[in-house]
Symmetry: C2
Subunit: 450 residues, 2 copies
């Protein structure tokens, strides 16, 4: 046997991995306020394996695929905590109307005629296409026929939290609240092992759900450990109607009925007084702030400064495309920051890194998914979004986090991954065909007009 050379301990061989991404900047979101340069993101079996200093990557990892992102920020995919995806087919069909008129004269009549599995599937596919191209990797949905929404979710490669609807108004989907709940629970039973699906109970709103239904929802939440996704205090009108009908504000009523808790997501939450904010904070309720929809439907401006000061987790939602009219979370997070600064006349409120948190990890927490997504943390799912900053609208670059919020938009999103799978590549959809999506949207355009 030949003599062994005298040498340092033998280095371990490079670990085989699926994918190495080499961005100009990495924003992990957690730890907070960091922008890493000269770091690679290592992905294996759908998860983040490491954030590797570039100088060490080659000796540590051997990748099946390496992708350079030389002028890009790589960050967690965006989390849209409130959407009615199927309504994408009604984008722009009725504008410049307040919430109640818009619902009663435009949206509900259309829905009562057309909602069904085909519409929900096609509308959700359109919404998934739009959201993926805008860097949204997870959305929280509340709509009829979640089993049809699932088909589009499954096909497009996006991650979603589906609502198990409760609604005391009959529709093509359900004849009463129990029917809605039973159907939603059955969908969950069938699909609960899907790797990109989760579920929340979704009682629509205080003005459409009875006390008895809320009590059943509270019981189900306790039994199943599911979160609760609900519109709350969207308008002052809603609060006044509740005072007239129940003698209490909706949030007080929800408290009495056991709906508030650390897995409850209060959507909109515009018309809040100090007591409402205290109550939400006391129960550790999360907020889905939907600034565009709140402005466009004239609901008002949410009191995000006071809400944040109370310690409430503020997340961002697009609402549905019928009311917004875009499913563009980068627009929402920018607007959330601008509105907070301007309406409270304090420019230091919600700085860029804080806003990025709200659009990613904050959202993941609200959906009960913070252990799985929302930050570039080893072990989490590789839900990622790359944003290109070497364009005339994003140069020069002094602070990439500022640019993601204030200068860039969905037009700068180039590549998106969900669980390590490419879903958008060079701005093009990967898992679904833009032609198919467009064709279906045009089909429904003709039907709605006909």
């Amino acid at each position: 046997m030949a003599s062994m050379p005298n040498h340092a301990p033998h280095p371990s061989p490079p670990q085989p991995v699926d994918l190495i991404l080499r961005p100009r900047w990495l924003i992990p979101v957690e730890p907070a306020n960091q922008v890493l340069e000269n770091h690679d993101l290592v992905v294996h079996q759908g998860r983040i394996a490491a954030l590797s200093p570039r100088a060490e990557t080659a000796q540590r990892y051997l990748a099946s695929q390496i992708q350079d992102l030389p002028e890009h920020v790589l960050m967690p995919g965006l989390v849209n905590t409130h959407c009615h995806a199927g309504m994408a087919l009604m984008r722009g069909i009725a504008d410049d109307q307040p919430l109640q008129a818009w619902l009663e004269t435009a949206i509900w009549p259309l829905e009562s005629r057309w909602v069904g599995t085909e519409m929900v599937r096609d509308g959700t596919l359109l919404a998934c296409a739009e959201m993926l191209q805008a860097g949204v990797t997870t959305f929280n949905d509340m709509y009829f026929f979640p089993e049809a929404a699932f088909e589009a979710i499954d096909q497009s490669g996006i991650r979603a939290s589906l609502g198990i609807l409760a609604f005391d108004v009959a529709s093509a989907y359900g004849h009463d609240a129990d029917d809605y709940l039973n159907k939603g629970l059955a969908v969950r039973d069938t699909l609960r092992d899907h790797p990109r699906l989760s579920f929340m109970l979704a009682p629509h709103a205080p003005y459409t759900v009875s006390d008895a239904t809320f009590e059943r929802v509270a019981t189900l939440a306790a039994q199943t450990n599911l979160g609760i996704h609900i519109h709350v205090h969207e308008t002052q009108h809603e609060v006044e109607q509740s005072l007239a009908q129940y003698g209490e504000r909706p949030i007080a009523r929800l408290e009495r009925l056991g709906i508030l808790g650390p897995q409850t997501l209060a959507v909109h939450a515009v018309a809040l007084d100090d007591t409402d904010i205290d109550t939400l904070a006391r129960y550790n309720v999360h907020m889905a702030h939907c600034p565009t929809a709140n402005l466009k439907l004239a609901s008002g401006i949410a009191r995000t400064s006071a809400v944040a000061a109370a310690g409430i987790n503020i997340t961002l939602g697009t609402d549905g495309a019928a009311g917004n009219n875009r499913l563009d979370l980068l627009s929402e997070v920018r607007l959330a920051g601008l509105l907070a600064k301007g309406s409270h006349q304090d420019a230091s409120l919600f700085p860029a890194h804080r806003l990025l948190y709200m659009a990613t990890l904050g959202g993941a927490r609200a959906l009960g998914l913070a252990d799985h997504i929302g930050s570039l943390t080893p072990g989490k799912q590789a839900d990622l979004c790359a944003i290109r900053l070497d364009t005339p609208s994003t140069l020069p670059v002094f602070d990439p986090a500022s640019h993601v919020i204030y200068a860039a938009g969905r037009e700068h999103v180039t590549d998106v991954w969900v669980s390590g799978q490419s879903v958008v590549k060079k701005k093009q959809l990967v898992q679904i065909s833009e032609e198919e999506v467009s064709l279906k949207a045009r089909l429904w355009q003709n039907r709605f007009r006909g």
Copy 2:
């Protein structure tokens, strides 16, 4: 001589023209509230020759070039009525600070070190690139060294209104207000025949301009018939400072000094009381509403509902990229609409066609250019913008005007013309090189950091 056949009057031969554009929809802006289908836009010698019913176009016009825009809205190019283009190089260099701190600790020190002809030319070129790709065909500028800005304007093919600055603060550009004015007037004397340039007197703001300088500006305005472009009532702080120093509100002071009139453009105009609004309305002053900058710098939310009710012409401005941080007029006009609806809780305020007017013809009026640009009117310059609506984020299409405002963004702008010259084609800059623009932006990034 052979006998002439007996026939109907001989049709006139087709008229030779330079360009025929065949869009899916034409929004002329004037007449108001119209969306034309099956119409072509005929361009000759830089001007709009006709809006021709498609069925008649071929027999009437013989074009050197025909361009199909089968899924596009064709509309007037956007008019950005307030910009500091040279500041594009400072995009994102200091965020999340209120106006005075931002100016005094970040922007002014940087400007005092770096402002010069090279910076203004390179910064303006970057701004022109960004604005053109966003469908902006005219901008109204206020910055140092307008002769350097001109070089970028000339090169890029954009139209601009250049400010003849008046400023009682010394800088690398001027040592006192007379020096600024004399230099600006000399630039105007040299460049006044340029086909894409116009000029306005630009006294910076009430808090940086003395009574004596305002008096000279008023005299010059009367002598030259130039308009006046000025920051006014941007913050409550400005109003209070003026009350302390002059014993009157800035607008009252400007009235006394003869600065207000039907060619005056009041920028920002956030901190307005009812008397201020009455005064601006009485003098037919125009307003440059800059909603993003007003929010981001925590100046507040302008009272656009009351301003519009008083009959004041509201136009849109991006402000400079250092404060916004994007030169994206479609973002501004959407935000203007959303803010008005939300802050006044009236969803019917500023419907989509009204907002389109503000971003085009309203802006042209404020710059004294309404006879030349701002609508698709035969005889006007062919300053045009095509916006593509067959994408997953803009389908279906029920109302193209709504989509331009609420669903589309600069990412949907595909082609832009100024005076009939192509400046953006399939999203790419035509007259200037994106590589050159980017290289220069990076150069300044390094200098500012160094």
